[in-house]
């Protein structure tokens, strides 16, 4: 997009230091939005990427934008509310929330401890619930609408053999957005989700032989390749833009045609 369509807007991206969140933070900032880039220090450190969030912020600031990094584990209620409040403290308001933070540990269902199920739900679903609620409270008070955009997944529509904990959070996220779309619509706040297919990010790169897996998957994807994070970020910018103001409660699948081909 060419026109700084988000000038004067303030956005929070959860899990904004890496992957889709990183690309989304950069893309929103390119359109003029001021950014709160959330990251979780432990998660970044585990992948030896402790400087990831500050690099995103530096890139935005260097190109003339506004951004701050904010560490928070959004599964913690106080931390998640504090993250959203940071936008208001720092930039005076919040217009756009992108619920992106998510984890996807693969494990056989028969062996999966309940603690793992709980953790995935706490980050993916509970974290988005708290963040959305806090953002919506500000947006309703501000009185000029807003955008809540949630990164769901193709996994909201299809199961995965080692993803008995992850997939239900992704369908749950879209279901939550539908309910919020109805409740918050009258306030001019639209709530939508995007459903990425297979994306080249740390979440998948953590698998050994990922390049081989990606090449195999590409055969099942009509456009012939897995997605890059930017393929997901641009449609999120569209949903945040003024032109998308009548899109509400929608699920925007961004999968190169994978879902229809899997059926």
């Amino acid at each position: 997009m060419l026109d700084g369509t988000l000038a004067d807007k303030v956005a929070v991206v959860t899990g904004g230091s890496r992957g889709i969140g990183r690309a989304t933070s950069l893309a929103l900032a390119r359109q003029g939005a001021a950014l709160v880039v959330n990251y979780h220090d432990q998660a970044d450190a585990e992948l030896d990427q402790s400087t990831a969030a500050s690099e995103v912020v530096a890139a935005i600031v260097e190109s003339g934008g506004k951004a701050v990094a904010h560490q928070a584990d959004i599964s913690d209620e106080q931390a998640a509310r504090g993250l959203i409040d940071r936008a208001v403290d720092e930039f005076g308001r919040i217009d756009i929330l992108v619920n992106n933070a998510g984890i996807c540990p693969s494990q056989d269902f028969l062996e999966m401890p309940v603690s793992l199920f709980d953790r995935v739900h706490a980050v993916n679903l509970r974290g988005a619930f708290i963040s959305s609620q806090q953002a919506a409270r500000h947006m309703v008070r501000q009185g000029h609408g807003g955008r809540i955009i949630t990164v769901s997944s193709i996994s909201a529509l299809v199961g995965g053999s080692y993803q008995a904990a992850y997939c239900p959070t992704k369908s749950g996220l879209h279901s939550m957005m539908q309910s919020l779309a109805i409740l918050l619509g009258p306030h001019g706040i639209t709530c939508n989700s995007v459903g990425p297919g297979e994306v080249d990010t740390d979440m998948n790169r953590i698998l050994p032989d990922y390049d081989e897996i990606a090449a195999q998957l590409a055969n099942r994807i009509p456009v012939g390749r897995v997605a890059q994070p930017e393929d997901i970020a641009d449609p999120i910018v569209f949903l945040a833009s003024d032109g998308a103001r009548y899109v509400n409660g929608a699920f925007l699948l961004i999968d190169g045609g994978m879902f229809v081909n899997l059926q």
Partner: protein, 260 residues
């Protein structure tokens, strides 16, 4: 929202007025050469004249020969076809009746335009796009292809058909670099819906509030809001979206509004 469509050639069916005109205007304003194709050539010519990159061509989507002629002319005059927007559609204004009373001729008339016409235009365009190894086809379906409505059986059937046809075209044509997606508009403010709902003398004006009660945003879409979504699907930014049906319905199909 502004995107880069410089040098691209787009064809919008049913572009004389309403949603089609807004879409064509939006694509042209973003740099595409746009063919305003419509069975009402005079009106299309007037609409196209408002855009420096607009040109009108007469085309009835139920006529294979006319569709082919327009596609041939497009390639001859502009060298290529990058974007096809299948927007041409009709609904019945008079026959708002249950299926046991629905006239056969009216059923045939609607299906011929709304479903078969979309096949005819897509087929001709896909041949051009396949040889280019690139292209985008955007079908204007409707939210009533997802959720059923009473008293317009051929329209809901045709739009449901368009939605699944979109998906099958996406898997057929994806490998040739052609992306196929659909937009499902909710209730949209046009001359047609003014005649039915939103205008002073609207035939169903009394029930309009009942309809709006189901829409979280509390109003119908403007044609430009549908055009913006179409522009996004036509833009380079959506290059990984294929086989998708994007609802632009203000939240209508997201669920029930209820006070408890």
């Amino acid at each position: 929202m502004k995107v880069e469509l410089q040098g691209q050639v787009a064809l919008v069916t049913g572009a004389a007025q309403g949603i089609g005109k807004s879409i064509a205007d939006r694509l042209a304003a973003n740099g595409a050469r746009v063919i305003y194709a419509d069975v009402q050539y005079e009106v299309a010519a007037e609409s196209a004249a408002s855009q420096s990159l607009g040109v009108a061509m007469a085309m009835d989507v139920t006529r294979d020969d006319q569709v082919q002629e327009v596609m041939d002319r497009t390639v001859q005059e502009y060298g290529r076809l990058d974007i096809l927007v299948n927007n041409a559609g009709v609904n019945t204004l008079e026959h708002r009746v249950t299926i046991d009373e629905f006239p056969r001729e009216e059923w045939d008339r609607l299906l011929a335009v709304d479903l078969t016409g979309l096949y005819v235009a897509s087929k001709a365009a896909a041949q051009i796009m396949r040889s280019q190894q690139s292209g985008k086809i955007i079908n204007i379906a409707s939210v009533v292809g997802i959720v059923p409505l009473r008293l317009q059986s051929p329209f809901v059937a045709a739009k449901a058909g368009v939605i699944n046809l979109t998906r099958s075209m996406a898997i057929e044509l994806g490998p040739y670099g052609i992306l196929v997606n659909a937009i499902a508009p909710g209730s949209t403010l046009t001359d047609g819906t003014k005649e039915l709902f939103y205008g002073e003398g609207g035939k169903f004006r009394d029930s309009v509030q009942e309809l709006l009660n189901h829409i979280p945003l509390g109003r119908p879409a403007t044609t430009d809001e549908i055009a913006h979504a179409t522009l996004f699907l036509a833009a380079p930014e959506s290059s990984y979206i294929n086989g998708h049906v994007l609802t632009v319905d203000g939240g209508w199909s997201a669920g029930y509004m209820r006070e408890f």
